[in-house]
Amino acid sequence: MQLLGLILLLLGGGAVAALSERLHRNAPRWLALGVIAVAGLYLLAIPVGTEEQAAWIPRFGINVILAMDGLSFAMVALTLFLGLIAIVSSWSEIDESPGFFQFNLLWTLAGVVGVFTALDLFLFFVFWEVMLVPMYFLIAIWGHEARAYAAMKFFLFTQISGLLMLFAIMALVYLHYDTSGVITFAYADLLGAELDPAYAFLLMLGFFVAFVVKLPAVPFHTWLPDAHTQAPTAGSVILAGILLKTGAYGLLRFVVPLFPEAALDFRWPAMFLGAASVVYGGYLAFSQSDFKRLVAYSSISHMGFVLLGVFAWNTVAVQGAVVQMVAHGFSTAALFMMAGALQQRLHTREMGQMGGLWHKAPRMGSVALFFVVASLGMPGLGNFVGEFMVLIGAFQVDVPLTIAAAIGIIVAAVYALSLMQRSFQGEPNAAVEAMPDFGFRELSVMILMMVALVWLGIYPETLLNLSAPVVSGLGVAP
């Protein structure tokens, strides 16, 4: 029960952190940091390939099945790493009820770890929702001015699409029960379910919508800019860095393997949505004047590549999607931290009130430049590898859509450089007086993420070797 132990560690740590607020105001922060560090070490001690099972609700053949293959390991490691980053980045930002804040943070992470490891559809759904409620609280309590609207929108979008998924899960289990006589929610058993093609298509859509809302892809993306913009920095880091990946992971792990024929039938529309997200997300990003909102829209554009890659369903594209998931986790998390740092110093996210900040804070400027360049797909950094592999793979499947998505990279250069230009370059804004530069705490986490992105860009094999057996095991075309 090592994986369950990992999840319980996060849940229990969250509860203790919430209570520790009474002892000292700083206690929850240090506790949360310690819990994540211990969880990270614990993760390294769990061998890849672990699978564990325990009975839960025998009446419906529901078991606690947790498993960690290479893909899950990579995603869980990313989760814990960004969790650590989120705690550090919120160190001085959150003053009110730090205990409850860390509680919600750790519970979100626990839910995400569960999503990445659950191999029972019921359990998966439970974790899917468990990560939702604490995230709601993070936005609703510690968010910015329009948090009520943003939090509600976030919750409604994910919850309603989740209901569709629950319905699809129940119908899938029942159809499998009808033919096999066994009632089970186990992923491994349901993989081989023989389904009527018409049903399979509808069920596939149920899953697809739930995951694409989370991803998010056009036209289900409208919750994202609000939620990201209004969330506190740690919330944005977790939302963009990890929560969006659960949607991508779901597409990869569940939608295509469970319904291979239906997914193949749906390939063009799905890839179209992916390419449309790349271009339209980039276009919208360019028209933003709010630093955080721009980064949020750029996420839609980047996650479009993942959708494109998953539905291209050949090894290169899917591997590219995996790299893109991880690389986007780092680059966007860093940019959201930058937005948070700027807001804390300038009390605004409007780029119209920035400008020429490089001179006042050169360290911030150079860090921002690094991640902006990473985000626009500079060769040598992780994002480039991901996007490039996706495009190669997608090209073999559908040329026009690939060309459209490739144009999206040019759009990315435009909005990313304009972000840099409007905030850090150009005429110094007279209204901005002295601004403290990055200190040791902020700089060190940024450097960690830079190293990760460079490593991904120069030697992606580390990640690719981890995910290769999984990708071929899922039945991806070579």
Binding site: I57, R59, V126, Y136, M152, I160, Y174
Partner: protein
């Protein structure tokens, strides 16, 4: 009656004895605390008496009552809810002028009525139980008689509930006219061989059809299914909060318990006769209306009590899926199981929500049921806010709460019975409901709220916390409940 009959009736008899003790104690020595203690002792004794009763189960006592595990399950729930209501009402009524002790007598009496309904298998017992509950509740609703809203609510409840009872009674009379039977099982046997009770009316006998429809309308009044719901929000809002909680839980669950037994024993929804579709149709229509309109109207409420009233309307609408599965499935066990699991979850979460409302209100300061009065509750009363959050998330059907397991069961049963339309209505209803539940949760997280502090009692907070834990435990580890309920369903359906 034999000794075994008395043993089977032990919970009812114990509660009756406790009731008499409380009445006598009050007439000699007025003390609210003593009345509460004696009431709780009576509930505890009746709860313990469930086990000797179960040793004799299943047992038919007179043609009116049958005491089986199904009845014991409901009796146990009603006793526990009665005890919680007594605790909540004790603090709620403190500080009110006049004497409070009679409230507990009424509460015991209402619970006795509910227990009678859970074991009724005859129209006479049904009516008896129903009237015992209703008459006690009129007085309980109006108990803080010095203020206006409770009186208005009680009057409304009296008139409309009376109309419901009269309709039902007339329906029973017509059914008796057509079949000559009053016992549930006799009704099923009263129709010619090869026919069913449900279908016979459809076919030729207009009196029987009219009787069935009127009976169902009467039941729908009591369950406050749309369009027979008009009294519910007003009465819930006007009644003292502990009584609203009791109305939403015990009085509904008891009526549903007897309806389910009636449907099973009298084969009300048996589709094997072919023509019983129209009876099922009637239920399906009110179910869909309740799920959709109940949730839409809940969106518009500013008062938590009204909101919970509409939410309870919607939940009884969901529950109708379990009833309809009874007619759609070859094995009926799933339907009974679903109903029992759903009700256990519904009772826990609804009572938890009302417990928090009741803890914040009192007869002296009045009802605190406006949503804005809950602003900042998280920071002022974290435990109560956490319980209310758990209850609301459970009502919204979020996993790891009892409400999710309840909805999950309905999903499973509905998919198995292929009731697609009802499942979609439930999905739409649930989707709508998230908004208004979250609205309250958000209000509680708002920070700079300077709502006045409310004195709360330690025992009330502990009671609410226990209810909140029950909601979570049922959601996290439902297997024991499911096992229990599976045995009960199997036992009920195997009875001759």
């Amino acid at each position: 009656m034999t000794a075994l009959d008395f043993q089977a009736l032990a919970p009812h008899l114990t509660l009756t004895a406790g009731l008499l003790v409380v009445v006598l104690a009050i007439s000699f020595w007025r003390s609210h605390r003593t009345a509460l203690t004696l009431t709780l002792l009576s509930f505890a004794a009746a709860f313990i008496a469930l086990w000797p009763g179960l040793d004799a189960a299943p047992r038919q006592v007179t043609p009116l009552l049958v005491l089986d595990a199904y009845a014991a399950f409901f009796n146990g729930l009603f006793i526990l809810i009665g005890a919680v209501t007594a605790i909540l009402a004790h603090r709620y009524l403190q500080g009110r002028a006049g004497s409070q002790e009679e409230f507990h007598v009424l509460l015991l009496l209402a619970t006795l009525g509910a227990m009678t309904l859970a074991s009724a298998q005859h129209f006479a017992a049904l009516l008896l139980g129903l009237e015992i509950i209703s008459i006690s509740l009129y007085a309980m609703v109006a108990y803080p008689e010095e203020s206006h809203p409770p009186l208005e609510a009680a009057l409304k409840y009296l008139v409309l509930s009376g109309v419901g009872s009269a309709t039902m009674l007339f329906g029973m009379a017509l059914i008796y006219h057509a079949t000559g039977a009053l016992g549930f099982a006799e009704l099923a046997a009263s129709v010619p061989v090869g026919d069913t009770f449900a279908a016979a009316g459809d076919r030729a006998d207009l009196w029987l059809t009219a009787g069935q429809v009127l009976f169902i309308i009467g039941i729908a009044f009591k369950l406050s299914l749309i369009p027979f719901h008009m009294w519910t929000p007003d009465v819930y809002q006007g009644a003292p909060a502990p009584v609203s909680g009791y109305l939403a839980t015990v009085s509904k669950a008891a009526v549903f318990a007897v309806l389910l037994r009636f449907a099973v024993d009298a084969e009300l929804l048996d589709l094997s006769g072919g023509a019983a579709v129209s009876m099922a149709m009637l239920f399906a229509i009110v179910a869909v209306l309740s799920m959709v309109i109940g949730n839409v109207l809940a969106l518009l409420q500013d008062s938590i009590k009204r909101l919970l009233a509409y939410s309870s309307i919607a939940h009884v609408g969901y529950l109708m899926i379990a009833l309809l599965v009874l007619g759609a499935l070859p094995g009926q066990a799933m339907a009974v199981e679903t109903a029992l699991v759903f009700l256990a979850g519904y009772l826990a979460m609804t009572l938890a929500a009302f417990a928090v409302v009741s803890e914040l209100s009192s007869a002296a300061v009045g009802e605190r049921d406006q949503i804005e009065e809950y602003a900042g509750l998280f920071w002022r009363r974290p435990v109560l806010a956490a319980v209310l959050t758990a209850a609301l998330l459970s009502l919204a059907g979020i996993p790891l709460t009892a409400g999710f397991i309840a909805k999950f069961y309905l999903f499973a049963a509905g998919v198995e019975g292929a009731l697609w339309g009802l499942i979609w209505a439930m999905i739409v209803g649930s989707a709508l409901s998230i908004y208004y539940y979250l609205k309250i949760v958000f209000a509680m997280t708002v920070r700079d709220a300077d709502a006045p502090a409310v004195p709360v009692s330690a025992i009330g907070v502990v009671t609410a916390a226990v209810l909140g834990l029950v909601v979570l435990v049922l959601g996290i580890y439902p297997a024991p409940l499911i096992d229990l309920v599976g045995d009960i369903a199997a036992g009920m359906l195997s009875q001759p």
